[in-house]
Symmetry: C2
Subunit: 561 residues, 2 copies
């Protein structure tokens, strides 16, 4: 596998050979809404089984529900079944009598057609209807794509019609996006746009996605969009979407997309699915408004952050939890036999072979993630997500490690057994729900960008520090000049390593992280740090999953996973 095909892969299709429970027919979404306390006036149906929640029509209520964050060890390319565990845990908590909602991210078409598949979980722990959720869903990503590309078109149109703002074309950092893995669009020259060089990113990496995910309400959405910096004038002043008079129309394009989506699990647990994946190249958390809405409706909200805890959980805990005031009550760390074997250096095609020694050799990766979660103030529950090829001896290696280190551990079999396979995990989480952990971000809110980078690299990644490339250094000067240096940093990094080198598996040390670029995302309110060779537009593999997909004459789909 070439790294470029997985640069933006997210979502977590479960990967197991065990027979999955076949889900029953979904219930009408109005029934799910009613059971969740959503009045009819607040539900907008999209087909029979999808709906949007009009938050303004909900009864008043504080967002008091406890948040359970599901994160993972450093993953394999196929993912560790984090979405599956999140769904299964939600179903198990609901079965145990907790008033529960699940809060997940929306799938991207990139991995659906590329390699990793959709993002609806799998087997006995999945969102339904998976085909509708994985394909277009309620068109939120398309609305984000449109809003992003309207701004981009207005930038080039401004240049075309005389450039009265005196924008320096070489300074334009705002790119176009598509929800597609399309390598050829990474770098393009606009032959009909003055020869300017630019490129496309995948929609999940759009600043508009981050804005939608972090905005509190429509006025905040409008204001954040207006603050997006597209580039700089020749005299060095930032040029924003408001300067281009684009933010009103962008908000208009996002008005429906900003409403959280409601679906259900195969077991009937309500789930809000809203906002973008890709914690490697974006902040990769579900939307703040969805989390807040779920916390108004439920006592427990189970949510997920993407890839390993160094990426998704770091961004959830250092960025989203502060912006949306949603620090978790409990943290679940998904570990798999396969991932630990990969972290011990085993090849992808060897991961199905019984090899307890390899699992043992991969434990330092788990250990570092456990230590990191503890640094944030949490006692993690390790959810050992069982795959069909795992042996009892391999699973025992992880359980022994947890026992020896005083870490809560639960064998999780939600893919093959549904909610009952998550009962042990739900019991551990249930015990933590009564606690009041002391959440501690890794860096203080007033830390400067370099200080933040050093803190994350040394503390979370286990590295020796940060090296800024000349371009990043120049960008940092500009960031300081405009007073943005205390915005939180959102690191784009490979998901395969704690370092910026996807080949340094396990728990590497003695490395420095090279920051290529520091891009101010003044609408989202963070600084993107591009590290290593990470790319914000993935490519398709040699045999894309799309090749195996079809629609039968009766309209049913085949090959979608």
């Amino acid at each position: 596998m070439s790294t470029d095909t997985s640069a933006g892969v997210a979502g977590d299709a479960a990967e197991t050979a065990s027979a999955g429970t076949v889900p029953g027919a979904p219930r009408p979404i109005a029934e799910i809404a009613a059971a969740a306390g959503i009045p009819e006036a607040a539900l907008e149906p999209y087909g029979r089984h999808l709906g949007k929640i009009d938050v303004d029509q909900l009864p008043p209520g504080e967002p008091a529900g406890a948040v359970v964050l599901v994160t993972a060890v450093s993953p394999t390319p196929a993912g560790e079944g984090k979405s599956t565990v999140t769904v299964g845990l939600g179903d198990a908590l609901a079965a145990a009598g907790h008033r529960t909602m699940i809060a997940l991210r929306e799938p991207s078409l990139g991995p659906v057609f590329g390699m990793k598949g959709g993002a609806t979980g799998g087997g006995g722990a999945q969102l339904v209807p998976m085909d509708r959720i994985n394909l277009h869903f309620t068109a939120d990503f398309h609305a984000i794509t449109s809003a992003n590309n309207l701004l981009a078109a207005m930038v080039d149109n401004h240049l075309h019609h005389g450039n009265s703002l005196d924008i320096d074309p070489g300074s334009i950092g705002f790119k176009r996006v598509l929800d597609m893995n399309d390598r050829a669009l990474r770098r393009i020259r606009l032959e009909s746009g003055g020869g300017r060089e630019t490129g496309f990113e995948i929609t999940a990496a759009s600043e508009v996605m981050a804005v939608l995910c972090l905005a509190r309400d429509i006025p905040d959405l409008r204001a954040r969009l207006g603050r997006i910096t597209v580039g700089f004038t020749r005299s060095g002043s930032p040029v924003t979407a408001d300067d281009l008079r684009a933010a009103g129309a962008m908000t208009m394009l996002l008005r429906e997309a900003f409403k959280p989506n409601l679906v259900q699990t195969a077991a009937g647990t309500p789930a809000v699915v809203h906002g973008g994946p890709f914690a490697n190249i974006a902040h990769g958390c579900n939307s703040a408004i969805a989390t807040t809405t779920a916390r108004r409706l439920a006592d427990v909200v189970v949510t997920e952050a993407g890839f390993g805890a160094d990426l998704g959980a770091e961004k959830f805990l250092d960025i989203k939890a502060r912006v949306a005031d949603c620090a978790p009550t409990a943290v679940v760390l998904v570990a798999t036999v396969r991932a630990l074997k990969m972290n011990a250096g085993r090849a992808k095609d060897e991961l199905a072979q019984a090899d307890p020694a390899a699992v043992q050799a991969g434990l330092p990766n788990l250990a570092r993630h456990v230590a990191n979660v503890r640094r944030y103030g949490y006692e993690p529950v390790v959810a050992v997500n069982r795959f069909g090829t795992d042996t009892d001896g391999e699973l025992a290696v992880i359980e022994r490690f947890c026992a020896e280190n005083g870490v809560r551990c639960a064998l999780t079999e939600v893919h093959s057994r549904g909610a009952s396979g998550g009962a042990e995990l739900a019991r551990h989480v249930g015990e933590l729900l009564g606690t009041r952990p002391s959440y501690r971000p890794i860096y203080p809110a007033d830390a400067e960008v370099e200080e933040q980078l050093e803190a994350i690299v040394r503390t979370v990644y286990g590295g020796d520090g940060v090296e800024l490339a000349p371009e990043a250094r120049a960008q940092l000067e500009r960031i300081r000049a405009h007073g943005w240096e205390r915005l939180p940093v959102c690191i784009a990094k490979t998901q395969y390593s704690f370092s910026d080198d996807p080949k340094l598996l396990g728990a590497p040390s003695g490395f420095t992280v090279r920051v290529r670029e520091l891009i101010p995302r003044t609408g989202a309110g963070f600084i993107v740090a591009l590290t290593g060779t990470i790319m914000t537009m993935p490519g398709l593999p040699a045999a894309p999953a799309a090749e195996g997909m079809d629609v039968l004459d009766d309209g049913t789909t085949s090959g979608l996973s």
Copy 2:
């Protein structure tokens, strides 16, 4: 106005200074469906006021409804209110007791944010809710964009991974699309795609749009997508979407989009709104499946084809009517005082000044369109769409022309007066519904491409013939070599003139039409002829309409028209 900003403008916002009737609140879409004979099982709601029709769940029935085609004289940049007349005529026919459905095309975001506005009619004759229909609607265009761009990504991915099909990169005619006016994307160089030159078109011009609009059912959709030619091998063989194994996944992306959308007029008449506009750069008719579905449900189906009758009506009558077996029973030709003044050479900012002599001088344009409609076998009804600035003296010029030439004529005031303003037009149309006109396409079904071009240019456009540029000539050789020379031709041409020169107004003669390119669209089943300087990706004007749009704090939109 630079021509490039209007290259792809379509839809027909009404332009009148008269006070419009304020529409009431829309009824629940389930009520509209029930009244139209659509059983509950066949309606999929999208929000409260939009729905999709699952055609397979409809009761059996032949498509027996009579089709009324609304077309127009050569238009002004703002449009002649063709959609408004179509809606008003539908409302008036319904008020007169006819079981009526309206069949329109979906709006494109290009004109919404550019200059011309949405495509939902206006005043007392409009579709509701206009904001939802004009912005994203049920995401059909986004699905088409995704399906188109998945194929494009798979083409470049195939080149990247070794090009085992031996595709000649220089031969790739299939482009990416966005539903956006974005001039800078017309020509791009893929710096990360081998340096290949390509470009973006607006989504309405995508072959995938044409395929969706012309397909009979899902198997036909699947088969047509598979036949799309993306380029040629180095030895000259066509390479199709099926060769790239992309068509199954593309069909999957289009499964929901292929279902016709149901909305209502402000007066409560049911309307199916499905398929793309832009009869200048696409075939520009609503979808065949929507027309057929409406004809199963209603006795009269009022539909529209884009721009002047030389574009939309020609394509409806020579292409769509044959593919979908939906030859009209009556043809309405919308004429306006403003358009005739423009055709007499008056400047855009002079069109509001009373000038009966200019209207008189513009009559040859109307006369040629009337003669053309007669050539297809129809006695047109001229609908004089009254604008607030029209004077009685100007209107009388058109009425006198019609009287002198034995042409049915109806003053139409549906924008200001709703259905009652269309009663006279509905009376004329109602009289024609009992007739059996002898529909005659301009060229026989077995005519070759050049023969078709000559027939259209000489007979419909009034020109002296066709000149093929060297590239078009080479493409024609290739078309012949592959046996595609009897596919119908779909001409891309300026909407401002019968000729390919937007400055030749009125009823020009003595011109030849220069064909730049002949592009085989083997999935759609036609050959696109690019003429003059027409471009398939419009640009934004110096002050795009988007600049005046916003969302208020209560979530309502402003500035959308």
